[in-house]
Symmetry: D3
Subunit: 123 residues, 6 copies
């Protein structure tokens, strides 16, 4: 296969996400802004550490089948020190709960994980 799997690298995806967030903040009233702020707050370490909370966000995103959300939490769990075995076991829980319909998202998550590992090596 000569074509790349994704039409955007992780870096390009992050830049686009920033640009789109600006469009949201141009438009949003107080309620939407508070929702975004509460969203950030929810993943801060508390009784559960940030790593566990990001894994919860990852699996919730996988069973709800949202690629953008899965990629966001894949990046975040890697930053929080989740290793390859922990990552694939979390995906495994999402797969059994959500069924084969999540497989296309699982495939893309696996490819993005590989992309993240390659970035680390090449630094």
């Amino acid at each position: 296969m000569d074509k790349p799997i994704f039409d955007k690298s992780i870096g390009e995806w992050q830049a686009e996400r920033e640009a789109l967030n600006e469009k949201v903040f141009d438009l949003a009233g107080l309620e939407i802004k508070r929702f975004f702020s509460l969203d950030t707050q929810t993943y801060r370490a508390g009784a559960l550490d940030a790593k566990t909370k990001e894994l919860l966000g990852l699996v919730a995103s996988l069973v709800l089948r949202c690629d953008d959300c899965i990629l966001y939490h894949t990046i975040r769990v890697k930053e929080e020190g989740v290793n390859r075995d922990e990552f694939q076991e979390a995906l495994g829980v999402g797969l059994i709960v959500g069924g084969s319909i999540v497989i296309p998202h699982l495939r893309r998550a696996a490819a993005r994980w590989a992309e993240l590992e390659e970035k680390e090596v090449s630094r």
Copy 2:
């Protein structure tokens, strides 16, 4: 970010939608054709005006996370005279009901709304 956010302009998206509808009508039997006709009929003004019905379609599409449906109703609510504040409040209801999983769709809706406003200005 040099790349455009969307790979299709609204005009290109509408042309593709027409082309795909032709594929459906080439294939469809009576039941699918009746469904399409009933779908159109449901949004006609009645006890509720067309503007309200299109807002209902927009929020239903947002919580069910269907980008094509969201864009279709975004165009329609603008045609029915929904203004920027009304639009973002409707999105706000969809966001609180549907949760952070709808955010990627909310981002694209906000960007498409900006695209529609720019088209108006440039006419």
Copy 3:
């Protein structure tokens, strides 16, 4: 059919909802409490009036198939002055968007609406 359709009247359902909300507030930390507060705030009249926002909440609840949420918004739209024709047209939008899978919820919404109308008459 001698058995009543619902095992709880609307009044009993409201009392149970209050009792359950107390269980949530016994348990909840700051984030969950803020979510509940933001949820209330989102339906306040703004650029869109409360009636329209409650109709948006109703249709979102119907397509997501949540009976408790549908009943809550059915009560609220009635309080906001939505009439029978407006109510059934809003349900009609939810039905065409969400498909036959929403019919069991539509049935219960229709029965609850009749229950609300009877309460008004018997006052």
Copy 4:
């Protein structure tokens, strides 16, 4: 376990469904009525026989996790001559596609199937 699994027998469920359909038709405008009529029409034998169409309805209902819809199609597939092995294989497809989240509905479908078989024997 002394309590019965279901609070309604299949006969009582069918009577309630009829009573609720009357509530819908008391309320419904033209669009909702047309949807119900189109729904019936879609399952009539055509290029695919009624048995296959009801199996499609059953599996769609299982993956979307709607107990009322599952019970309706369970009754219908039995009427169309689907046998025990065919029934459980269809559920098996729904289970692998939809994941463990469908298991509570699969359990109730299995219990309802047993109830239908017992009714046949006791005739």
Copy 5:
């Protein structure tokens, strides 16, 4: 409110679940049996401990809005030593991801957690 919130205690719910599982195993072919076995296997401690995996199952069940699944994992996380603060933070992640549509399930989860705590005290 004099009526109990739930029509079944946790013990009665567990007994019913067992009875229903027997109905499934009476009916099931090899594929369904293998699915159930794989489901059990997926939650065994590996790179992630059982506590974390059960929390993942809990949040996945909450955002997919399955009461039976939520109760099952609520019991399991308590058995694995999750405390009240950890439990409510996990629910908080599910609430922000899944939105207000999960609130009815969150309410019942909070009430079941209270029921589990009372059982411990009364032992």
Copy 6:
């Protein structure tokens, strides 16, 4: 419309799917591998023939709105000898169950079916 509807031909899509499956198998532990194996096994002919099982998979994929899954089963039902009328009737069941929210996926399924028919003619 000069742009092609799909950015990948069916052949390119299949090659990408293979490449992504390799990424999954590089990462996967025993549970994910067993899930993939069970998924394949579930569609083998048994009491129901492979054609019927693939139609069940197609409609389940349509109502759950997964384009990759729909395309996979569209290819498979064609291989199993499903004809144009049978295909569109199966889609019709998915449309009535799943509602207008499935229409964008129905459009793409119709276009992919046409692509498969053209490939046959041009052989």
